[in-house]
Structure formats: C-alpha cells, structure tokens
Amino acid sequence: MAAIFDPAANLYVKVAILIGVALTLIAVLFWWAWPRTDYARHVRTVVAQPVPFSHQHHVAGLGLDCRFCHSSVEVSANAGLPPTTTCMTCHSQIWTNAALLAPVRRSLAKDEPLTWRRVTDLPDYVYFNHSIHIAKGVGCASCHGEIASMPLTYKAQPLTMEFCLDCHRDPGPGLRPARAIYDTEWHRTGSTPSAAALLAHYHVPDRNLTDCSLCHR
C-alpha cells in the first residue's frame, strides 16, 4: 500500500471543486440581488408611528387634499409635515377624546412636538426638491405610491438612483395632467394627453436631466 491518497480522494476533490464554484456563483448573485430586494430598500415596511395615522381614512375617506397637511409642497424643497395645530383644527372638534389621539392633544397641551418616523427617505447627499416636481406634473403617487389606499403609511418605491434615473432619462411617461397630480389613484387612460404633449405643456426644460449636479451638491 504505497499510494498517498485512497481511491475516494478523487471523489472528495470533485465535490469540493463543485461546492467552491457554487458558492462563488451564489455570492455574486447575492451581491447583485440584495440591493434590489424590497427588504434592503425597506419597501412596503410599515414603521410604528406615535399615532397610527391613516392616509386612507383622511385622503380617500374624508377627501383631504395632500396640501392640507403638506402645505409647502408647491413652493419648497420640503413638502412639510403638519404642525400639531393642523391636526387639532379638526380634532379639537371631532374625536376630541379618542384614546388614539391622546399624543396629539398632549403635544398641543404640553407644547411638545410629535415625533414621527421617517418612511420615505433619501440620503443626505441627495437634494430632492418637491416643488419643481409638482410644478412639472410629477404626481405624488409616482414616488409615494397609492397613499390614499394605505391604512398605515409605508414606502412604496425602492427610491434607488436607478429609480430616479428611469424618470429623469425619459420624463414624459411619468407626467400627468395638472388636475391628477394629487390624485394618487390616477392612472393613464386613453384620454390622457401623450407624453410629448405633457412635456410640451409643462415646458420640461431642454437641460440634461441626468446631470449629477441636479441632485448632488
């Protein structure tokens, strides 16, 4: 018996090689797939809020306009979050002692701001401006999804750079008529003006919308 390895060794080696190859492939696949998963992007993840505010109820149910609370969306980079006083305009009249709203009442009484949790977020080095998108006919739903049908608010889109670029490279299809901007249920229909028509209507500028400087400063 002079052989160094026994006959089984050949098999072991083959198996080992196969496993190695498989692992490499899996690793590459993971690297590619992970950032694209909803999990990594927190898409459709509901975050616990101090008050279980339902957009569905307020928007679809009561028909409040987005701008009622997000008042600066048309003029400023920030859409703006409603101050407690905005909530209390109604809730000083209705549901005045609902347990759910206790935090809101406390906030006003104690003059302590409510603390909401971010749902839709961009990294700090991205300078997104709501007003210009609204002005150019991009609807809320394009990024925030069908808010009106969300009992609890969650992030509707991955909001990766790819997601932004899809629109910035070809804005037309993303645009909607002015009246539909705040309508999160709206969908293109046959009667909707063509992409080209909308582009012309909104004077979407001839500048290169994929300039880095447009979002990164």
Partner: protein
C-alpha cells in the same frame, strides 16, 4: 547535503566562464539536494534568524494598515499640493521589482536562455511577492478605502461604472491582473516539483499537503505535453503583460498634465527601471541563497556574470532615459517643467536627484570590470545601491514634481511620516518573509527544468567525448 565531485575551491571563486551547471551535478544529486532543502525536518538556524524580524515587520504592516483605516489618510505625509507620496512611489517601486522577476522567468524562457533554469524559481517567487507587496498599496492609498470596489465592474443600482479614461483605473486593473497572473504562472510551473516533493516527503502529512498542491501530477507524457504547451503560451503572455503593467504605471504619470510627469517617454523609461531593479533584487537573492543552500554548482559564476551584464545594460538604458528627461525639459521650454528640473538639480531636492543618478547609473558602471561581475560582495553592494536608487528615482518623480506646480502660490513641501515609513518597511518585511517561506517549503530550484538542462549537458558532454 551532498557536494559530490565538485571541488570546493572552484565553487567559492565563481568565474564568468563557469558552466551554467557543473558537470558533476547529476539529476539524482540535484533532485536530492533541492528536495532536501524544502523537505528537511526543521528549518536552518539562519532561516529563523532571518525570518523572525521579517515576520515582525509584517506585523508592523498589519498594524499600520489597521491604524490607517481607523484614523484616515491624514496620518501620512501627503498634503496639498503633494497629494501622492510614499504609497504611490513605493507601489511603483515594488511593481518594478516584481516585473524584473517576470522578465527573467518569462522572457528568457521564450528565448530559451539556459542559465535561467536554476534561478527562475527565485525570480518567480520574487515576482509573486513583489506583486503582492505592490498590491497592498492601491487600496490603502484611497481616501475612502472601503469603497475600493467602485473601481470594479460591479452590479449597482446607480447604473454607474468606473471612469475608464483614468490611467489610475488602467493601473488598478493592470496590477490586479498582474498579481493574479503571477500567482497562476508561479504555481503552474511549480506543479511537477510539488509532485517530486510529494513523492519524496517523509511524513504522511507533508505527502498529503504536497499531494494536494501537486494535484495528482505524475509525469505522464500527456501531462507533460499539455503543460509545456500551456506554460509556453503563459510565458508568451506574461512577457507583454509585464511590459504593459509598467508602461501603464508610467501612464499614471505621463497621462497627467502635471509638470514633471507629463512626458511621453515615461512608459519605456519605467520598463527600463523595472528591469534594473528586477535584476538587482534577483542578484541580491541568489547570492546569499547559493551560499546558504549550497547551490553554487547550479547558480554558478555564469549566472552572476550574465545577470550583471543585464544589470549594466538596463542601467545604461535608464541613463539614456534620464538624459532624455533633461533634454525634453530643456527643449520643451515650459517654465514650470524647467522650474521643477532646476529644483531637482540644484534645489532643495538635489540629494534625491543626484542620489538617483549616482546609484542607478554611476554605480553599475563598475560592472564593466570583469572581476567585479563575479565578485559577490561587490555585486551585493552595487545591487543594494541600485535598489535604493530606484526608490529615490520614484521619490524624485512623484514628490518633487508635485512640490512645484505651475502656480507658484501653491508650491508645497513634503516629507514622509512615521506611518509612511512603517508601511514601507512593513511591505519589505512581508516580501522577505514570503521569499523565506518559499525557500523553506517550496523547491527553490525548478527541478524539472534542471533535469532537462542536466540531461542536455550530459548528452552534449558524451557527444564531445565521442568526437574526441
């Protein structure tokens, strides 16, 4: 260790007309001697004495890298305007050393130089660990090293890729190609010798380990045939690769608009430099090894003589490059260029410039003297000089150019910090540790090639006897 048939005196006094392998050396004896080095039970004392400090330096490298990542690039001496410093110039230095090894093992394989057989394993080890030492730097050198992978093609959600017009990116790819290729090339040529080691190893564990790496090579004619075919092509690829990598390193500078760098001659100029330092390091390695391992009858005076001639030649090429550097500066007539050159020659940086000239061009001229070409002590001194000189040359190119940009108000000044030095010494330690490990565990002479060589010589010897 057997010193059969070879009179010691002859070994100790190498001569330029020595045969590449002493006639007394039989295949069996050669195999026995080489294997006995790798397979001996416990390492030589001198090995430990050499290895421990190298290991310590490698630890130092690890430490300085850890601190660099923790603290930031600012711990180095780099500044505004000298944004590149030790990292880049040491990188270039190492790449040059590695390239020299490749040239010897690949280029001279193609031209079928006999003398290469006994030293190409040393040359290849040098290439391997030189490339690894160089490979350390590009990532360390980044301001945000954890984002190094942005230089790869990789799937991302930004639809962005690297910027391929940047010579630095070419360099990045060239380097890692080169490291990878070196490893393959080194290991590939090693397989038959590992098989030999496998078959001769005493303990079962060593057998198994060598057996694993030998991957069941048995020397069947098919295995040999494919190996020769593949190895030939690999060598034919490595030769241009080594030229390309150093040309591309040259382009890092030539491709920039920076005065002092903006010279078309850089790529060939850098290749000459690579040759010079490569030959120097090979000599520095084989001179002690042949003594310590008793390989004088395979690494003979002939080898020293040939390598010294090559050293001299490449030094002359480099001299020409320096000359052209001066000429183009004068002839181009750019104020900033001239300012930098003046700064090098008579300015604060004069020691670097003149040191480069003396060590890289002046010193090797001694090798015109036949006796010195086979005089180990002399050769060692010259080679050490060249190695330092090459480092100085890179210092001169990288630093003194950046110290004097076109706008005088931005003139700056540079000196390395303790961390710069720690990193440099660390890589040196790592390199030597690698060489020592390969000496300890890997047949340090390519036995299968030596066999061919010895057989051929024997045949020739027999033929000449018959003729007589």
């Amino acid at each position: 260790m057997s010193r059969d048939l070879v009179p010691a005196a002859e070994l100790l006094a190498p001569r330029g007309d020595d045969p590449v392998v002493h006639p007394g050396v039989s295949i069996a004896a050669m195999t026995e001697r080489v294997c006995s080095i790798a397979l001996r039970e416990r390492a030589y004392l001198w090995w430990w004495i050499a290895f421990v400090p190298c290991l310590a330096l490698s630890m130092l490298l690890v430490a300085s890298i850890a601190y660099l990542f923790y603290a930031g690039i600012g711990i180095w001496g780099v500044n505004w305007p000298v944004m590149w410093g030790f990292a880049i110039l040491s990188y270039v230095w190492w790449i040059a050393i590695a390239s020299g090894g490749t040239i010897i093992s690949a280029l001279f394989f193609l031209v079928g130089a006999e003398w290469r057989s006994s030293i190409n394993r040393v040359a290849e080890s040098m290439m391997l660990f030189g490339a690894v030492a160089a490979g350390v730097y590009p990532i360390l050198h980044l301001g945000r090293p954890w984002l190094f992978y942005w230089l790869f093609f990789y799937p991302n959600t930004m639809t962005l890729s690297a910027q391929f017009r940047s010579p630095l990116l070419w360099d990045f790819w060239a380097l890692y190609t080169y490291v990878f290729a070196s490893i393959l090339f080194w290991y590939f040529g090693l397989i038959p010798d590992l098989a030999t080691a496998r078959d001769r190893a005493a303990t079962p564990w060593r057998r198994r380990i060598y057996g694993m790496f030998a991957a069941g090579f048995r020397g069947s004619s098919a295995e040999w045939r494919h190996m020769r075919a593949a190895y030939g092509v690999m060598a034919a690829i490595m030769a241009p690769v080594v030229v390309s990598i150093h040309s591309i390193v040259g382009l890092d500078f030539a491709g920039a608009a920076t005065p002092g760098w903006h010279a078309t001659q850089f790529p060939p100029f850098f290749v000459c430099g690579a040759l010079l330092s490569g030959f120097a390091i090979v000599l520095l390695l084989i001179i002690p090894l042949r003594r310590l391992l008793g390989l004088e009858d395979m690494m003979t005076g002939r080898h020293l003589d040939v390598l010294c001639r090559l050293l001299l030649t490449s030094s002359l090429c480099l001299g020409y490059a320096y000359l052209m550097d001066a000429f183009t500066t004068y002839y181009g007539g750019d104020r900033a260029e001239r300012g930098i050159f003046l700064g090098r020659v008579i300015g604060g940086d004069w020691p670097v410039y003149w040191g480069t000239l003396v060590l890289n061009i002046g010193l090797p001229q001694l090798l015109w003297v036949r006796r010195l070409r086979v005089n180990p002590p002399a050769i060692v001194c010259i080679c050490l000089g060249v190695v330092v000189g090459m480092w100085l040359e890179r210092y001169e190119i990288v630093v003194t150019s950046l110290e004097r940009p076109s706008v005088p108000s931005a003139w700056g000044f540079y000196h390395g910090t303790l961390w710069d030095w720690a990193t440099l010494l660390g890589t040196i330690g790592m390199f030597l540790a690698g060489i020592l490990l390969s000496v300890r565990f890997v047949p340090i002479v390519s036995m299968h090639e030596m066999r061919t060589l010895i057989a051929a010589h024997a045949a020739r010897g027999a033929a000449s006897k018959a003729a007589a």
